[in-house]
Amino acid sequence: MATPVITAQFNEVIHAPMRLRICGLLQGAGEVEFAAIRDMLGVSDAVCSKHLKVLSDNGYVTLAKRPGQRNGHDVTWVSLTDEGREAFESHIAALQAIAGLG
């Protein structure tokens, strides 16, 4: 099976430190609960929400609400879209090239 070719492409939206980390953890873990992202980044709900909104507005992540198991309230699950995954991988390739690791 042919493997996809990744072109290094610096991405201003993803490069912001918090958004880069969000994309990194979503790429590693797949779909992640909002609270887990917030805890792993060690930021407030508002900060986490703000960055997710930027990524979502750019079509890089999807936010899905589902009934939670603990108290019946809806829980937000976040995952990278195909476009987001591609943009993130291209951005990492660009960073590696800049840092002389590529």
Binding site: T3, P4, V5, I6, T7, A8, Q9, F10, H15, P17, L20, R21, G24, L25, Q27, G28, A29, G30, E31, V32, E33, F34, A35, A36, I37, D39, M40, L41, T62, A64, K65, R66, P67, Q69, R70, G72, D74, W77, S79, E89, I92, A93, A94, L95, Q96, A97, I98, A99, G100, L101, G102
Partner: protein, 356 residues
């Protein structure tokens, strides 16, 4: 450290010393993020230690049963011992699932790398294999059994740790756990929002909601199939224990092999229905009556736990599987589980139709 095995095409990019430093910092921050992700997927140490100690204790128990130390115990005491061991194992698994469910990830995954597979398969193999040492070396001294138990326990713990370490390396290197998810709930990816969650059902107009709820209510055979599957798992596992205890005998492999085939067929049928119906399998009860039926169903599940423990103790003691008692107990379980399961399922959807 991008996605593995992916050819890279780079464009010439301006790279001043400051830019290089900034890019290196950004990549370094990613490594710490990936380590945090790996921590979420790692099995807790208390679980790994409990399993290892459990295997060591089980090895000593097998030695005691085989070596005659427990020969003065009555059948009932041996059987109670089997029930206690099974109950502890079930509680351990339930606590693990309860803890992992709170990590905010889809934690049920296969090993991500070949080395992970190797360690993951070897861990239980070594643990269970150590339990059989006192059987193969009949009449071994207590201290030899103790050494075997400790070595087996430590080896199991090390292998489980190595399995986790392999997964950690995979994630830190940029691997995605999404590719090895085991819960198989790709429907949860919400592509086209196809999964029938309670919220989605409640958003429908009354008439459409009633029709959809009717369609989603499980068929009569579903809970019976699940109950039968559980009982077949117990019987086939006990037949394997029996083979270890008294050696191979005429038709000794027929029941386990036949059971595994039936289990596969039942599991495939149940899974197919659930997938086709696109039901949210994590939907919780909505009303007090639903909760009562849910608990009744959960309490019914104690029957196979007891039967497994009883059968385990009995088989270790006598070498024969108590098929008659398992059949009666299993029948009671399957009937009760089917009735409560059906009542619960119907009540759950009737609550949804009412808009609870």
């Amino acid at each position: 450290m991008i996605a593995m095995n992916t050819p890279l095409q780079t464009k010439p990019l301006p790279a001043s010393p400051d830019a290089r430093l900034s890019a290196a910092d950004a990549l370094s921050s990613l490594t710490s993020t990936r380590e945090a992700v790996a921590n979420r997927f790692t099995t807790p140490m208390w679980y790994k230690v409990s399993v290892s100690v459990g295997f060591a204790i089980a090895t000593m128990l097998v030695w005691a049963l085989w070596g005659g130390i427990f020969s003065s115990l009555s059948d009932l005491q041996i059987i109670l011992c089997g029930v206690a061991i099974t109950a502890v194992g079930v509680v351990l698994e339930v606590v693990l699932v309860w803890k992992m469910e709170r990590r905010g990830i889809h934690w049920l995954t296969m090993p991500a790398t070949p080395s992970g597979w190797l360690y993951g398969v070897m861990a239980p193999f070594v643990g269970i294999g150590t339990m059989t040492v006192p059987i193969w070396c009949n009449g071994m001294a207590w201290w030899m059994a103790l050494i075997a138990a400790v070595i087996g326990g430590v080896a199991t713990l090390l292998l489980m740790n190595m399995c986790d370490a392999a997964m950690r390396d995979y994630i830190v290197a940029g691997g995605s756990m999404d590719k090895v998810r085991l819960d198989g709930d790709d429907r949860r990816d919400d592509k086209g929002n196809e999964l029938w969650t309670r919220a989605r059902l409640l958003a429908l107009p009354d008439e459409e909601r009633r029709e959809t709820a009717r369609r989603l209510t499980s068929p009569y055979w579903l809970h019976t199939a699940i109950g039968l599957e559980a009982m077949l798992c117990i019987v086939s596992a006990l037949e394997v224990v029996s083979l270890f205890k008294i050696g191979s005998h005429a038709g000794g492999f027929i029941i386990p092999v036949g059971s595994f085939v039936l289990i596969y067929a039942l599991d495939t049928t149940v899974t197919r229905w659930t997938r086709n119906a696109k039901v949210d399998t994590r939907m919780m009860p909505a009303s007090p009556v639903s909760w009562v039926l849910f608990f009744a169903m959960a309490i019914t599940c104690l029957i196979p736990v007891y039967l497994a423990g009883y059968g385990f103790g009995f088989t270790l003691r006598s070498g024969n599987v108590p098929l008659a008692k398992l059949a009666v107990g299993g029948l009671v379980f399957v009937v009760l589980f089917s009735i409560f399961g059906q009542l619960y399922d119907r009540r759950r959807y009737s609550d949804i139709v009412k808009g609870v």
